[in-house]
Amino acid sequence: MSGPAMTPVRSTERITPSPTLVPSARLGRLRAAVLAAPYGICTTKAERLTEFLAARWGSGLTRALGHLHGRAFAAGLADQAAGRPLARWKSRLATAIVSASRSHELPNAEAIEQDLAEGLAHVLRNAPLRLYPDELIVGNASSRRVGAPLHPDYGGLLLAGELDTISTRPQNPLHLDESQRRALHERIVPFWARRSVLSTWSVYSDDPSLADELIDGRALVLTQIAGISHLTPDYPSVVRLGLRGLLAQIEARREAIDAASATHPSAAQRRQRSFLVAASTSLDAVVEHAHRWVAHLRDRARLEPTRADELLEAAAVLDRVPEHPARTLREGLQAVWLVHATIHAESFQHGVSFGRMDQYLFPLLEADFAAGRLDRAGAVELIGCFLVKAAELLPLFFDRATEYFSGLSSASGITLGGVAEYGRDASNELSLLFLEAYDQVRLRQPNLHVRLHPRTDPALKALAHRVISGGGGMPALFNDDAIRPALEASGLSVEEAADYAIVGCAEWGAPYRSFPAAGAIFLNLPALFLRALRDGRDEEGRTVGPRTGSAASFRDLDAILRAFVEQLRHLLRRAVRGNDAIELAHAEHRPTPLLSALVRGCVDKGRDVTRGGAQINTVGVQCVGLADLVDSLAALEHAVFAVDNAACTIEELIEALDRDFEGHEILRARLRSKSPRHGAGDASVDALTARVTRCIVDEVSRFRPARGGRCVAGLWCMTTHQGFGARTGALPSGRHAGAPLANGAAPAAGSRVEGPTGALASCAAVTGVPNGLVVNQSLAPSMVRAASGQRTLLGLVDGYFAMGGMQLQIDVLDPAVLRAARERPEAHRDLVVRISGYSAYFCDLTPAMQDEIITRAESAAGCR
């Protein structure tokens, strides 16, 4: 199965700017309803999948043991959540139990695929259908208006220790009914305690201390325990061919295998065949689910005569899609949404993205306009309804993970603009309408991303300025001229690189055909730098890395960089092998036949996406704290390695770090004020930044994941810069122990920078990064809303991109508004701010993250 390399764009004329649209009352009501909805946990999948599989898997004896094991498991998780490492004997025992039960409790791999596909069908057959007032696009990603599906088969059991407090926890409480809580305690946790990815991955790992490293949370986070995510399904084919078209391709592939193996199918052919059957079952289940909706909408139309026309139209749309090709914009949007919603009955809701919607839906808009069925206002209303649906979905993080991934974004990305064939501008009327619709809706997600290049239509840039000026940090802006070469260097063809879309926050890659696992791994760069300074020991003196020589032996920056790279390589090896173990657990225990039917390559290869079925495979390795690392290296260069005028010896410096500069305030002041930093526009530091970036990108790209493909480095962090920072000791940059690290590729907080242009000129040195990066720049409202504001904002973007900058998001912040929101959150429920590569409601953030946003706003206000 393969689609066109790039969706053709038919429009060749320039976009004519049109007058601002009157805001849609419907969208206003939908927005208010979503903002007012409490957050809750959805256990539909957890309950239905468990009941379905419990009838097939396991015996009475193991069910009884399951309860005991489940209880011990929950107790162990409570320990881990508190940051206490599990006793070695307990983790050995758990691994032994899981290993033993695996062999006689689980069916073989082929049967697991089919069981899970039928389990998905069971979930979709029994999921409650929730229809909300005013919506034109229907379908539920969860049973709540704003809700988080819990996935016990992945990492959902991490919540097992928090079930009694999650509805009342101070940060992001999520509603959980008593009946849900009971089901989780009595049936769901015991069943999955030996079967989930969370409980099985360590069986595949040969690194006994990796679990402790993860619980420590200081240097490394592996996310795929929570589920596989961070990819863009083949929605263009859903729209263009319909699920029937995809089913026909699967059927053709199956017939080809049957024809080739009529008498003696090989083991590989049997595996391929069983995958294809499971994929068919999954797509059939989605079609069946759509038809449940048709019947439901017709019933509701009878009950709600005032809304009957609207509901019958929605029924007619779902009678057509996603089963058959979409013919109208409404059908296209509905097809994508329903499939997206059902994917989350299978996979974890994090970074499953929509791709280049203005490209693959554009022919439908053109057809609507040509037939006179739709005008711009109508199109904006439909798109707005779609955007609101995307904002109904929440990720589910256990308490500790909230620190690393604050803001509750499930980070689905929509990519607009960019280039078409031969580098022509791809932006079109639909690109504008998506921005117009977002301007009316302004909820925390989905993430809107705009690709820019020198030929981008000025109308799109002007509109982007208007939307950004309203605050909230969207759309984020991406530089085709810098990103395409980086993707080509990482192995994509010229056509694939030109067709890139953003997964989640900022991860560029080939959509529809790849499993990028873009958010799989997060590493703490300054922690590795500290290990290099301390000969492989951490802040507490435990040996956690290779012995790379005592600091006294370092005579120059090259020596310490070599030691750093060795530390990096060592942790990378552990991280990538750990991620391999997690992916193997997915492949063995939790293949995803629906998702696999929707990623190009899997059907051709007859292989699940978790087993390397996608055409392109990568694993994203995010390196956090770049500016802290660069600033620390620059500080060493100036304070220790300076030929004349050195401020201290390296031993004195380490002593000061050990004491968090207590009694060494003067040294700290000197380190902070005398050495140049990332963001100050200093040419020598910018060169160092470029060198360090290159070094990290190259080192990461040497690693090969077991699934196939390669590892790719990213420089974005969500809020891991806070989680890591809280656990990282003092740094030579003068940063105190426990303070947050720098966000993405931006300068460290509190660094004196030479204004936005100086900061961005420095950030332009961070280039050639294959898995995305984030540069946040805050600006004062008065600056961008002035008459000259468009020139200022777009000038800043264009200048930075001309210098080679890859990504930029501009948050327009007023510190007074932020402080007011902290005082009276209830009055500022809709205040959206930019976090990392995503946006969030300010009131949903941890206090530490709120502080960071206020500091950013204050420094923007000071920049006159």
């Binding site: 003067i666 004020s673 005398k674 242009t757 000129a761 008065s782 002035a786 800043l796 200048g799 006159r864």
Partner: protein, 307 residues
């Protein structure tokens, strides 16, 4: 210290301010030159008045480590004193600035050649090009540095960079004249129309400014006269009328009104200066001023929203 000669000319610069968006079109870098011929009571950049290097002391950042006192050869630093520096003894050697670990003491005024300035200014060339911005020469009175500007402005223009000069015009026109062909735009400040008031508020002569403005208007095609609105100083009806009358006589038909803020007052405690805080507050009736000026045939625009 280099002797004078081509390329050896230097000027004292207090600050090279990147991302200036209110000093002309687009994204600009503004160079603040040190030294001024006027002593305006309301000067927003008091650190640019003196033509000598000065020390700025930020007491809040002082760690009381005495490193400055130890480094001071003439013994001008007594760290127990509130500001700490005996400026009569200070010989401006800058050793204390080098020694201070926290940056509490900094020196105001960097001696730079045109080549060094060009080098620094080109850092934001991409932003000048993308936004239609450029370089703004400001101060102090930048024209006091006309020899250096005669090297700097042509060098910037040769790089294709838009050059704007902000001046108060208080010098003989002959100093500015040779520079005019190398400037794209001039911002010409005109603060008061009454010679006596001008003399008392700025210690300068209005006729000198008027003479320079008259010649400049004839010799350069893009001169923009700007009136900074100084609450209570030049905003009353009779004072505005005097400004309007003078401008009409000079043939000025359009002016830009500039908002004023008192943020500079926080700088005073760090400087050795006779300038006193003014504590101005209250709103300025911009519309009334525009009407008054219009009666004299002068069209005023007030486009900058920033406070």
């Amino acid at each position: 210290m280099p002797v004078s000669g081509p390329g050896r000319e230097t000027a004292l610069v207090t600050n090279v301010q990147r991302f200036s968006v209110h000093d002309g079109p687009g994204i600009r870098t503004t160079v603040f030159f040190k030294g001024c011929t006027l002593r305006c009571a309301w000067c927003q950049n008091p650190e640019t008045i003196s033509r000598a290097v000065e020390l700025s002391v930020d007491v809040d950042r002082c760690l009381s480590c005495r490193a400055c006192a130890d480094a001071c050869a003439p013994g001008a630093i007594e760290t127990r004193a509130p500001d700490g520096i005996d400026r009569d003894r200070c010989d401006g050697c800058g050793e204390c600035v080098e020694a201070c670990p926290s940056g509490a003491i900094s020196s105001i005024g960097r001696r730079m050649t045109a080549a060094e300035l060009v080098d620094e200014l080109l850092a934001d060339r991409a932003f000048f090009e993308s936004s239609g911005g450029g370089v703004t020469l400001s101060g102090g009175e930048p024209v006091l540095q006309s020899k250096l500007l005669m090297e700097l402005a042509p060098a910037l223009r040769a790089e294709g960079i838009h050059v704007l000069l902000q001046t108060a015009g208080h010098y003989p026109f002959a100093r500015l004249e040779p520079l005019l062909p190398h400037l794209d735009v001039l911002h010409f400040d005109f603060k008061l129309g009454d010679p006596a008031r001008f003399a008392s508020s700025t210690q300068g002569r209005l006729d000198v400014v008027e003479d320079t403005l008259r010649h400049t208007l004839r010799a350069h095609a893009d001169v923009r006269v700007r009136i900074p609105l100084l609450p209570g100083q030049n905003t009353g009806p009779s004072v505005v009328a005097a400004i309007g009358a003078r401008l009409r006589n000079l043939g000025v038909e359009r002016v830009e009104l500039l908002p004023y803020n008192g943020l500079w007052e926080s700088k005073l405690s760090r400087l050795d200066t006779a300038q006193k805080p003014l504590g101005w507050s209250g709103t300025v009736d911009v519309e009334r001023i525009r009407r008054d000026l219009a009666e004299d045939g002068v069209l005023a625009t007030h486009s900058v929203v920033h406070p």
